[in-house]
Amino acid sequence: MLKGNLTEFPLGTLLQTLAAAGRRGALLLSPPWLEGRVVLKEGRLYAAQAGAREGWPALELLAGLQRAPFVFDDAQTLPETPNLNLPLETALARLLAVSDRWARLEHLPGDWQVMLTLTRKSGELKLTPVMLQVLGLVEGRTVARILEEAQASPIEVAEALDHLMGQGVLQLRLHGEMKAETLVALSFYGRETGVAYVDEAQYREWRKSLPAPFGVRIRSPRGRESVFEVRPRADIPGRVMLHDKDLRNLRAGRGVKLEVRPELQP
């Protein structure tokens, strides 16, 4: 049984490899927010399902997954009737084109479990029918559900969401506070106080879940806390780098474990 994650094997490459090897069976994708299935039969993409979507829209939706564990099961009972039934080359060419469109999205988070909310931003914006449709679905639904339930194709819905987020019409709705990380203090020197540096990977992770701008609230073991501007820096995993003076203000020092919680800046 073939297992892995889409972070290592993108969907297009995976399907191409399986079909080229003449494999017959079902590729099961299971990100936490969706159940996906692509059936391969006789060198063709035979059927696809992603949540409530079926056929090509399902495959289009699955092409947007950046990470998801997968299993290829050749013992699965395959459906009698196809909902896709595309020759491999045609399917892969279309999949590649859609994947390119997904890759161009700048604002839509990779985690589709999050919810979006309307901002209070005022001003003029030209809305397309898909955008209108999306705005009607936003409240109370996760990104995954919007992508599944909207009438337009998943990639069009995703592009509409991305555009609206980029224009500041929509933003992430945070469920209470973000989880705090325990990071070890490291000092830096210079004139710039009020800034906290975290490792690039940590910053990227927060950046995906939070719309810019965001900062960090840092709490010392002695209970002192303060809010800092946050910036990425290379080669400091597990660390938060603060100016020597800021560390002293927090009654902390180098090597002290600090509670670091990202939060939206007003």
Partner: protein, 449 residues
């Protein structure tokens, strides 16, 4: 003139007073280029080193923690020079020599700060995240003089067999024979086997051994010294006073003009302050290059601290023991005077011998790494195992007999290491200054491509 006479002449030159002045001059130059870092930023140096001992490693390339890298370096520097060497300096120059030793050591802090900083900055990174660095790399990559870097590596790879190996095994064998009546052959065999086991684990195992053994042996020696000082508590005040008073007094040598003895005192003290911590020789930079740090200057602080512990703390304790006991005033061979100074407490002599054996053993391990890195720089990765094997065989043989010529030759090689290194420190002083300014401005480090 035969070969031995040539070696003696070169040794006299590379370890002579004129060379000491060069070490001092470059140390002073680096002190200025780093804006007197060892004085102006002493608090930062302490916070970033002793204040951060228990921390995990930082990210980035490199295989061992900054503390482990420093312990490898200290394993090599702490040795006979901190005990017998300091006693010899007092015998040659009187108590005032210790004051000049401090001055030279303070200058040396800037030198080793620069060495450690450059070692990290110019180190080579491999695909697996491991690194290799040291003077050969900063000479080749920083100055663009690979032949000079190779020359340093040749000196270091050869010196390791003498100063790092045979000299140390002989010292261990001597101590074991005198105090525990163990024959040198057994000591040599034991040293060879232990060295083989440690070297087989590569830099990580060397680091683990060093991080355990070096602090323990330093602590062990300091406890021993404090025990003696407690017995001679009344002599500590006069000992300190004699250091300061005689440091500036014009003394007449035996039958010589006033001032001759003063010069001898300065030479003895400065020589100890320079050579006991190896600042300027470049050897320790090979260990510092291995540290996982986010900025080279952070490892530079460890370099400065290494000199502080070696030459200010340990040497001062030795000096106080020797001076407060009064044994130095009677004269004699340095090792005997040192033994008499520690003779006040029960079983001090065997304990001192054990301390000296430990000092020698850590030097043996650390120099193996220096030699191996230098050989790998010259001949590639394939040389590592043959070099280790040769080193282990030499460790065994080293306990068996005297290798006077080899030791003299390796002394020459050891002294010659300083020449390419000091040239690099002089010419790369601007890079050290830029990195230091950048660090204290909060700028991230951009390693050279």
């Amino acid at each position: 003139m035969n070969v031995l006479a040539w070696i003696d002449q070169i040794n006299g030159w590379v370890w002579g007073f004129e060379m000491m002045l060069v070490f001092l001059a470059i140390g002073l130059y680096l002190t200025v280029r780093t804006s007197f870092i060892q004085f102006a930023r002493i608090g930062v140096i302490f916070r970033e080193t002793l204040g951060a001992i228990r921390e995990r490693t930082l990210g980035g390339d490199g295989e061992i923690s900054p503390f482990q890298a420093t312990m490898i370096a200290m394993g090599a520097t702490i040795g006979i020079g901190n005990t017998v060497g300091v006693t010899a300096a007092i015998l040659a120059g009187g108590p005032g020599a210790i004051f000049w030793m401090w001055i030279a050591a303070l200058v040396g802090m800037a030198t080793k700060f620069a060495e450690a900083t450059l070692a990290v900055h110019y180190r080579r990174r491999f695909a697996d995240g491991s690194v290799s660095g040291g003077p050969m790399y900063y000479i080749a990559r920083g100055l663009g003089l690979p032949w000079l870097g190779a020359l340093f590596a040749v000196f270091a790879a050869v010196a390791a067999f003498g100063i790092g190996n045979v000299v140390q095994v002989s010292a261990i064998a001597g101590a074991m024979q005198n105090q525990l009546h163990i024959t040198p052959a057994w000591t040599g065999l034991f040293a060879g086997v232990v060295v083989a086991v440690v070297l087989a684990g590569g830099v990580r195992r060397i680091a683990r051994v060093a991080q355990t053994l070096v602090p323990l042996m330093v602590l062990f020696y300091l406890v021993l010294a404090v025990s003696v000082l407690v017995l001679h508590a009344s002599g500590i005040g006069p000992a300190l006073r004699s250091i300061f008073e005689s440091a500036f007094s014009l003394q007449a040598g035996f039958g010589g003009a006033v001032g001759v003895a003063t010069i001898e005192m300065i030479k003895a003290g400065v020589g100890r302050g320079i050579f006991s911590n190896e600042a300027g020789l470049g050897s320790a930079a090979i260990a510092h290059a291995q540290a996982r740090v986010d900025h080279p200057v952070r490892q530079g602080f460890w370099g400065a601290m290494e000199v502080f512990v070696d030459s200010i703390v340990i040497n001062t304790f030795t000096a106080l023991v020797v001076l407060s006991s009064g044994a130095w005033a009677l004269g004699g061979a340095p090792y005997e005077v040192l033994g008499q100074s520690f003779g006040g407490i029960v079983s001090a002599q065997p304990l001192l011998a054990l301390a000296l054996a430990l000092f020698a053993f850590t030097t043996l391990i650390s120099w193996a790494f220096y030699g191996e890195e230098s050989a790998a720089y010259l001949f590639g990765e394939g040389i590592r195992w043959p070099y280790r094997l040769a080193y282990v065989v030499m460790a065994f043989v080293g306990g068996l007999g005297s290798f006077g010529t080899l030791i003299k030759f390796s002394d020459t090689m050891n002294g010659l290491m300083a020449i390419p290194n000091l040239i690099a420190l002089l010419l790369l002083g601007g890079v050290v200054a830029r990195l230091t300014r950048g660090f204290f401005s909060g700028e991230p480090w951009n390693p050279p491509k």
